[in-house]
Structure formats: C-alpha cells, structure tokens
C-alpha cells in the first residue's frame, strides 16, 4: 500500500492512519478506558450513596463540605459516567436507528443530554462541597 503509485494518500495521511472519517478506534478504545476507570469509581460511588441513605439534609451537606474524598469521587464518577454513557448510547442508536435524519438527531440529543446530566451533577457536587 505504501508504494502504491496510484494512491492519492499522502505520507502524513498514512502515518496518521486515518481515512476520510478522520477517526478510527477512538470510540471503542475510550469505552474500554472509561470502563476500567468506572470499576473502582462505581464501587466507591455505591459506598457513598449507601452511606447517604436515610440521612438528613445537614448530614448530606457535611458529607460533601467537610471532607475531600466523597466530593472528589463523585466528580470523577459523574464526569467519567457521562462520557461512558454517551459513547454507549451512541452505539445503541447506531445499531437500531437506521433512518439517517433520525439517527443524526438522536446522536446530537444523546450528546446534549449527557453533557447536561454531567454538568448538572458536577455543578451540584461543587456547590455542595464549596459553599
């Protein structure tokens, strides 16, 4: 391929290993990386939520305002989850939605929903821990 005189691909294009789509295995790879990160984060998240169960307002506030670790774990968990679920739902949409405009709008909606959920969660944890 590299010596194909008929090829219109430049040397730089070959080195980057990217075709006209401008992306390769990033989606699958980021899915794997976020999965690995979410294993410990999800366990810690469940621990935090379980210890919040049945607690009153002041106890919940104190959990995030008085200590560093719970808020830090929540921030990492929410940010990683939002990205992970955006990737996952995009795969589901691409698998089942075959109408091109509906698919495109679904993927846009998925992206916006994931950003919105991630942002709202992060902002709430920051407000709880910093005010």
């Amino acid at each position: 391929m590299a010596n194909d005189p008929g090829s219109l691909r430049t040397a730089l294009g070959r080195v980057r290993f990217l075709g006209s789509a401008k992306s390769g295995t990033h989606h699958a790879w980021h899915m794997r990386v976020t999965s690995v990160a979410l294993v410990p984060l999800a366990v810690l998240f469940v621990w935090i939520v379980a210890s919040l169960a049945g607690k009153d307002y002041n106890a919940v506030r104190a959990m995030f305002a008085d200590r560093f670790a719970p808020a830090a774990v929540m921030i990492l968990f929410i940010a990683t989850s939002a990205y992970h679920m955006m990737l996952g739902m995009q795969t589901i949409i691409e698998d089942y939605v075959h109408d091109e405009p509906v698919k495109t709008w679904s993927i846009i909606g998925n992206l916006l929903f994931s950003i919105l959920v991630g942002f709202a969660g992060l902002f709430a944890v920051l407000k709880l821990s910093l005010t």
Binding site: S35, V39, A42, G54, Y57, V60, R61, S81, K127
Partner: protein, 130 residues
C-alpha cells in the same frame, strides 16, 4: 434461493436462534446500560435538590424513601452491579481469555449471580448502618 444459499449459516436472528445464557447476558448488559443512562437523572435530581436547599432536599429524600422509590433504587442498584460485572467479563474476553466452553458459561453465571448477591449485600449493609 439456491440450495447452497439456503444452507449458509444465518447471523443470530433472535426469532430462530436458540436462547443461550451468554447471549441473554449480552442483551441484559445493553438493557442495564440503557437503564443506567436514565438513572443518572435520579442521581442528578438528588444532588441538585441537596444543592438547592433543605426544602427541595426534603421532597427528594421523601420520594427516594417511599416504597416505590426504594424499589426503583433497588432495581437500579442491581442494574449497576450487573453492568459492572458484565463490563469486567467483557474486559476479560477482550484479552482473549475465557471465551471457551465452559469458562464463558461460568463467567456469565458469575455475572448473573454476582449482580444479585452484591445488590442484596449492599442493601442489607445500608439498612443495617442507617
């Protein structure tokens, strides 16, 4: 359709494919993933309510403490653990190990049983500690 074409192996159409545990677990992995996608709304609602002040927190806390709220949270706890263990199973398979019979069956069974066991364990601990 010629005889040769007719005898070609079919891709797994759900209508004609014998249900198998690994296949069901694959489907459930996707369903739990989609369910957790929606569950993030509950998490964000809880956090935003707490950040909003005592009044909105009391409303959210009341909803989650109700019978229906507890059942929904129990279901999402299971979805999270099932998806978590399913992810670990897929990570093992990604390395090329555990795909042969009977290891793949043990992994699938472990995911199914482990998800339920961890859910019950966490809820028992949470109720014991509160």
């Amino acid at each position: 359709m010629s005889e040769v074409e007719r005898r070609r192996p079919l891709s797994p159409h759900l209508q004609v494919y014998r249900p198998m545990l690994t296949m069901m677990m694959s489907i459930v992995h996707r369903i739990t993933g989609a369910a957790l996608y929606g569950a993030t709304l509950l998490l964000v609602y809880y956090l935003v309510a707490a950040a909003n002040g005592p009044a909105s927190f009391a409303t959210a806390s009341g909803l989650f403490s109700s019978i229906i709220g507890q059942i929904v949270l129990f279901g999402f706890t299971w979805a999270l653990f099932h998806h978590l263990l399913g992810g670990i199973r897929h990570a093992i398979w990604d390395t090329g190990y555990g795909m042969d019979h009977p290891v793949r069956e043990y992994l699938a069974q472990g995911t199914a049983i482990g998800g339920i066991a961890l859910t019950i364990l966490v809820w028992a601990l949470a109720y014991a500690m509160r």
